[in-house]
Every structure is written in structure tokens, then in C-alpha cells.
């Protein structure tokens, strides 16, 4: 059946007759909505629904990882403890690390990007939204595989970085190391898929007028993060694939007896592993830069140096990996080059700190909960950064390598540098996601408990490390004299756990009973606050036009908007990379169940390939079928256009 021409290209301007004031909203809602029902829930490509699922799943993994951390602290609270067996302890610390890095920290930063990048740049959906849906299911199945393996006593026990030869076929029989390696494949597939979406959305779907010097800083941070994922992740996928080949097929990539090289593993792993720290950290600092102006009532100080700092740290982070390998016997001259780069990265990090301090100094701070988390970040991250400069020095690192000093350092960097800003961001953006405010009173308790609990838990670990307590140790004799401080650390970790528990209670309570937030409760300046809370399926009734870096502050009345987009199909605006001048109208795909099926086919293939290499061959057939279904034209208005 042929549609009439006016229906084939129905524009928003045609609905501006004034007879029905909300005709455009109703039309857009019909085109962009996700209908109710299980199949539709599995088929949705709405970036907000996928982003919300991603965020919730990541926080579930955070809670599970936190339970493992508490088990470890129970074990270490007193000398000679037999609470956990050595085998179980090995699994617990491995899964705690792998879970926190691969299933919480990286995915949650991407999840926030999936939800907020389209809103912050003023578009209606993320680029390649079906890829986003596929990415979420792969992430969920991969994470589930790791935890199911743990429940079945098959959890990896080789540390979160699975060093060979320990993780190789000579020393790790069974399938535990393979599960670690395949979990990497799952999470890297999903991470790469999201990274590609973010890059294209930021570079080609920004609202008209949002030139490079007007992009919100958190979007810059997510853009740098996405490029880093694209450049760093292939190294670890290569490494984990080589490990599986060594274990399953009998290759000898890491077997020195047959011409392989164990250090190759460390090079490949840390070429990914060190940038990963910045993959987690950069979005967090971007969040700080975007939240801060709302709480000091002035634009950010030093937009240009802050963008420079993000780009510089993203690039320099690729030249730091050998500082994880200072005790492997590499030539000191080569190591010193990595020390130099590790010291140099303190310059852009310091530039950021001074820009934020200047912003606060010149503004009128309002000590709301997100701002408290920003202050907690300053204190904690600066301490973690300083111990980072210490362990970047070869002589000191040689002394404290593989001790609790390093454990303290990286928790200061990761929790102080990423988790505190993230929690602040949750308090900041929760009203946009749910339409309700989180509790200010409970939030202050959460911030206080986490800040004090964290510092009292992890600061003493520096001292324990200097006293010689090694990482991954499952029990220690009373004569070592570490018992008192370990008991203190374990008791303080309870305060930290209480903080997280209170945070989750606040989330559940506020989602149902929180104060209604309104569109812009913080009176912030960026575009996501220009739409309703929670946003409608189409994000914006009309795509806004951006005239400054703080559009909601500088455009006192309503924002100028674009008109002329089609409303008979999902359509968005493609703009230029530099000036964001409009280039072309482009369709956005409809919901589809095929990404879900493709994720199932991928997951079955990856899990089966732990047991037989032929799974890759036979698994490719159903995967190909799902991809054909995914891309098959269906005669929808989106396909026709």
C-alpha cells in the first residue's frame, strides 16, 4: 500500500496549526515510544531505557563486589583467620577486582554516557541504538557468567590481571582462567560497541550551534573515554584470546619453553590496563566540571585548559603501562621513560584541580550533596595522585610493589577519583532520570559515612604496605604485628558499607516517594535540563539551537529551536564536526528484537568456546542468522527514507 505524499514526509511545522496545542508531542510520543509488554521491553532501542538498565545492573555488580570486599575484610580482621579457605579467598579477591573493574567501573561510566550524551548534546537518540541494546545484553550475560561460575565454585582465582604462567595451562587446570578470559571478551565487545555509539553521537549529532568550544565538559570527557576504549581494549581482547588459545588449542604464546614470552602478557594487559584507569577517571572529572557550575552559580573557570587536560591525560595514559612492570627486570633507561610520562601526567591533572578551585573561589558555593561529593573527591584524589607520583618512581615502587601500599593507592585513585564523583553525579542527575529528588538529609549521611569510612579504611593500608604486608595474602601470623591495624581497617570498612547501604535505601525510597523535581531543580545550564524530568521518549519536542557554552543561563527565555524535522518516522539531525552546522536529516532505527537474539547467539558461542574451539565455527551460524534478521529491511518509514 502506498502512503499519501503528505504522510510520507510529514514535518513538525505541519502540526503547528494551533488547533491542537499538544499534537506534536502526541505524534512524537507515538513514533518514539516503547510500547508495554515483554517483547517490546526486550526490543527497545531507547537510549534512556538502555542507559537506565545499564546503570542499575552496574550498581548491582557494585553491591555484589562490595559483599566480596567485606568477606575479605572479615578474613583479614584477625591473624591466622580460617573464615575463608585459601582457595575461596583466591576466588573472592579475583572476582572482586574483575567485577569492580570490568563489570562496574567501566560499564557504569559508559552507562551514564548512554543515558546522558544524547540529552546533553540535544538529540533524540544515540547513534546506532540497536548496537547499544546488543551491548547491554552482552554485558549482562557476560557478568552473569562470571557470577554463576563463582556460585558453582568455578570462579577465576588468578587475580584480576590473570598473569601467566599462573593463568596458563601449566599452573591453572580446570576452566577458571578461561572464564576470566571469556568474561573479558564479553565486556570488551559491549564496551567497544558503546564507544562507537558515543563517538558518532558526539561528533555528528550535536544540536546546531554546539561547536567544539561549546560542548559540555562531561561530553568531552566521554568522547575521550570512547576513543581510549577503541584504542586500548583491542590489546586485552588480543591477550585474553591468546590465553584461551594457549589453554584450549595448545598454542604457546606465553610459554617460554616453546619460544613464547610471559612478559608479552603483561605488556598487552597493561597497555589496556593503565588507560583503563583513565577510562574510568576521565568521565568522573568531566562530571565534576559539569556539576560544579550549578553549585557555585558561575561558568567553569578555564574551559579551554580543562579540555586540553582531558585530551592530554587520555593520550599520555597510553605511555604509562610499564610502571606496573618495574620489577620485571626491564632496562632502567626504558623504565625511566615511563616514569617521566607518569610524572608529566601530573601537570594536566594539576591544571584541572586549579581550574576547579578557581571556579569555587570565584563563585558562591551551595553545599548540596553533589557538591559534598566533589569536595570528598578533591581531598581523596589528591592523596591518591600523590602516592601515584611515589609509585611511578622506580626505587620506591620496587620497595612497595605488590604490597598493601599499592592497594591503598589504587583505591584512593579509583574510589576517590571515580566513585565519589559518580555518586555525586547520581545525586545530581537522579531527578532528571526519575523526576524525583533524592533526600538531602540522607545524602549528607551517605557522603559523611563514605568519606570517613573510606579514608579510615584505606589510609592505614599505606602503613600496612610499608610494614611489608603483601597483596592477596589470605592469612598472616600474629607475630607480624599487623593484627591491630587490620582489625581497625575491617571495623572502618563497616562504616563504608553502611554508607553504601544508606545510598541504596535512598535510591529506592526516592524513586517512589522523593520530592517532585521539576525540569531543572539545580538551575543548571546544560541542555538535559531543558526537557522534562524524566525526559519523554523523543527527548526534545524540537531540537534546540545552542548559542553559548551555558545555553540555559545565557538564553534567558526559551531556547531557539530547529523546525522542519519529520514526525512520521524517527528522524534526527546530523551536524558538522567542528561548528555543528546542520548537514542532513537522518532516520533513527525502530525497536528490534534482533539485537537481543544476536546477544544470545554471541553469548552461547563465547561460553561454548571455553570448552571447544569448534564452538566458534558452529556458533557463527546462528550469529550470522541473527545479524541477517537485524539488518533485513522491513519497509518501515525509517527504511524507506
Amino acid at each position: 500500500m502506498t502512503r499519501p505524499p503528505e504522510d510520507r514526509d510529514l514535518r513538525d511545522t505541519a502540526l503547528d496549526t494551533g488547533q491542537e496545542p499538544d499534537a506534536l508531542e502526541r505524534r512524537l510520543a507515538r513514533i518514539w515510544r516503547t510500547p508495554p509488554g515483554l517483547v517490546n521491553a526486550l526490543s527497545t532501542v531507547d537510549h534512556k531505557i538502555i542507559g537506565r538498565r545499564y546503570i542499575v545492573t552496574a550498581f548491582v555488580f557494585l553491591a555484589l563486589g562490595g559483599v566480596l570486599a567485606m568477606l575479605m575484610r572479615l578474613q583479614l580482621a584477625q591473624p591466622e583467620s580460617r573464615f575463608l579457605s585459601p582457595d575461596l579467598y583466591n576466588q573472592v579477591f579475583t572476582i572482586h577486582g574483575a567485577n569492580m573493574m570490568f563489570l562496574f567501573a567501566v560499564p557504569v561510566m559508559e552507562a551514564m554516557a548512554i543515558y546522558f550524551v544524547p540529552l546533553l548534546v540535544g538529540t533524540r537518540n544515540i547513534a546506532f541504538p540497536r548496537l547499544g541494546a546488543f551491548s547491554y545484553w552482552v554485558y549482562l550475560f557476560g557478568g552473569s557468567m562470571l557470577w554463576i561460575a563463582f556460585i558453582l565454585q568455578m570462579g577465576p582465582d588468578v587475580g584480576w590481571f590473570a598473569y601467566v604462567p599462573l593463568a596458563g595451562p601449566q599452573y591453572s587446570s580446570g576452566k577458571r582462567a578461561d572464564i576470566w578470559a571469556q568474561m573479558i571478551t564479553f565486556t570488551e565487545i559491549s564496551a567497544l560497541a558503546v564507544a562507537i555509539e558515543i563517538v558518532v553521537t558526539v561528533l555528528k549529532q550535536r544540536a546546531p550551534g554546539m561547536s567544539l568550544d561549546r560542548i559540555p565538559l562531561v561530553v568531552w570527557a566521554w568522547l575521550v573515554m570512547a576513543f581510549m576504549i577503541i584504542m586500548a581494549m583491542p590489546a586485552v581482547v588480543t591477550a585474553s584470546s591468546m590465553l584461551i588459545l594457549d589453554r584450549l588449542v595448545g598454542t604457546h604464546f606465553f610459554n617460554p619453553a616453546e619460544g613464547g614470552d610471559v612478559l608479552l602478557w603483561q605488556h598487552l594487559f597493561w597497555f589496556f590496563g593503565h588507560p583503563e584507569v583513565y577510562i574510568i577517571f576521565l568521565p568522573a572529572v568531566g562530571m565534576i566540571s559539569t556539576m560544579l557550575p550549578a553549585f557555585v552559580r558561575r561558568p567553569i573557570f578555564g574551559y579551554l585548559p580543562l579540555v586540553m587536560a582531558l585530551l592530554t591525560m587520555g593520550l599520555l595514559s597510553f605511555g604509562l603501562w610499564v610502571h606496573h612492570m618495574f620489577t620485571t627486570g626491564l632496562p632502567r633507561l626504558g623504565e625511566s621513560f615511563f616514569t617521566a610520562s607518569s610524572m608529566a601526567i601530573a601537570v594536566p591533572a594539576g591544571v584541572q584541580i586549579f581550574c576547579w578551585l578557581a571556579t569555587i573561589w570565584l563563585g558562591r558555593p551551595a553545599f548540596r550533596v553533589p557538591f559534598l561529593f566533589i569536595l570528598a573527591f578533591f581531598f581523596t584524589f589528591v592523596l591518591g595522585g600523590m602516592t601515584g607520583v611515589m609509585v611511578a618512581s622506580v626505587p620506591l615502587d620496587t620497595q612497595v610493589h605488590d604490597t598493601y601500599f599499592v592497594v591503598a593507592h589504587f583505591h584512593y585513585v579509583l574510589v576517590g577519583g571515580a566513585v565519589f564523583p559518580l555518586l555525586g553525579a547520581i545525586y545530581y542527575w537522579f531527578p532528571k532520570i526519575t523526576g524525583r529528588m533524592m533526600s538531602e538529609r540522607i545524602g549528607r549521611w551517605v557522603a559523611g559515612l563514605l568519606f570517613l569510612g573510606f579514608n579510615f579504611t584505606f589510609f592505614p593500608m599505606h602503613i600496612l604496605g610499608l610494614q611489608g604486608m603483601t597483596r592477596r595474602i589470605y592469612a598472616y601470623p600474629a607475630e607480624m604485628g599487623w593484627g591491630g591495624m587490620n582489625l581497625f581497617v575491617s571495623l572502618c570498612s563497616v562504616a563504608m558499607a553502611a554508607g553504601f547501604l544508606l545510598f541504596f535505601i535512598d535510591i529506592f525510597r526516592s524513586a517512589r516517594h522523593g520530592e517532585p523535581a521539576g525540569d531543572n531543580p539545580w538551575e543548571a545550564s546544560t541542555l538535559e535540563w531543558a526537557t522534562s524530568s524524566p525526559p519523554p521518549p523523543y527527548n526534545f519536542v524540537r531540537i534546540p539551537v545552542v548559542t553559548s557554552a551555558s545555553p540555559l543561563w545565557d538564553e534567558k527565555g526559551s531556547l531557539p529551536v530547529v523546525s522542519g524535522l519529520a514526525v512520521n518516522r524517527r528522524e534526527l539531525l546530523i551536524t558538522g564536526m567542528g561548528n555543528a552546522t546542520p548537514e542532513v536529516r537522518e532516520t533513527s532505527p525502530q525497536n528490534s528484537i534482533w539485537p537481543f537474539f544476536a546477544a544470545i547467539a554471541t553469548s552461547v558461542m563465547l561460553v561454548a568456546s571455553i570448552f571447544t574451539p569448534w564452538a566458534v565455527v558452529w556458533g557463527a551460524i546462528p550469529l550470522t542468522i541473527t545479524l541477517i534478521g537485524w539488518f533485513w529491511p522491513r519497509g518501515t518509514p525509517e527504511d524507506d527514507s
Binding site: 561547536s211 567544539l212 568550544d213 579551554l304 585548559p305 579540555v307 586540553m308 585530551l311 592530554t312 593520550l315 599520555l316 597510553f318 605511555g319 627486570g329 626491564l330 632496562p331 632502567r332 633507561l333 626504558g334 625511566s336 621513560f337 615511563f338 616514569t339 617521566a340 610520562s341 610524572m343 608529566a344 601537570v347 594536566p348 567542528g578 561548528n579
Partner: protein
């Protein structure tokens, strides 16, 4: 695209092309050159590092020129030029730190 227009497009991003590019190559040279330099002879790593720092600074300067910073030029191209000028300077600083290391280490230390 003519040579002149290619040059006009490359100038603002010279800082981000030259600085990180040379720095990345120099990181690899640092791993490779330690072995031949330990056995004596010309200290190529010192020359490469300081030459690299100079080139990174040149890239930063070209970006600065293209940014039109002094002329008060605005817009995305000026922004890109300014960001790349600052970025190139930091990579020059990283290369200078590496150069310092080549002056005190012989390549034989393990």
C-alpha cells in the same frame, strides 16, 4: 586539496600530531636503544629525545600561530589551535623529562 589548504588544515592540529606522535615513537626507542647503548657508542636516545622535544615545541608553536590567539580570533578553529598548542607543550615537557633520564642512565642498569 592544494598544498596550501592542506597546510592550513594541519596547522591548528600540529601540536596534537607532532607532540604525541614523537613521544610515542620515543617511548619505543627508550625500550630498544637501551641494549645497544649499554655496549657503548653514540647516545642516540639523548639526541632523539631532545630533538623530539624541539619538534613537539615546534608543533605547539604552529598550533599557537594558527589559533590567532593574539589577534583575538574566536570560533572552533581558534579553540582547536589553542588546545593543541597547550597539549603539544606538555608533551614537549614529557620529552624533556625523558631527555633528563638519558643524561643520567647508561642503558646498562637493570
Amino acid at each position: 586539496m592544494t598544498a596550501a589548504s592542506a597546510w592550513r588544515h594541519l596547522m591548528p592540529v600540529a601540536g596534537i600530531l607532532l607532540g604525541p606522535g614523537i613521544w610515542a615513537v620515543n617511548m619505543e626507542l627508550g625500550q630498544i636503544l637501551a641494549y645497544p647503548e649499554c655496549s657503548g657508542g653514540f647516545r642516540f636516545s639523548t639526541l632523539a629525545t631532545f630533538l623530539g622535544a624541539a619538534l613537539a615545541l615546534l608543533g605547539a608553536f604552529l598550533s599557537y600561530r594558527a589559533s590567532g590567539f593574539r589577534g583575538g580570533k574566536g570560533g572552533p578553529s581558534a579553540f582547536v589551535g589553542s588546545v593543541c598548542a597547550l597539549l603539544g607543550s606538555i608533551f614537549a615537557f614529557a620529552l624533556l623529562l625523558q631527555g633528563g633520564a638519558t643524561l643520567v642512565l647508561t642503558g646498562c642498569e637493570r
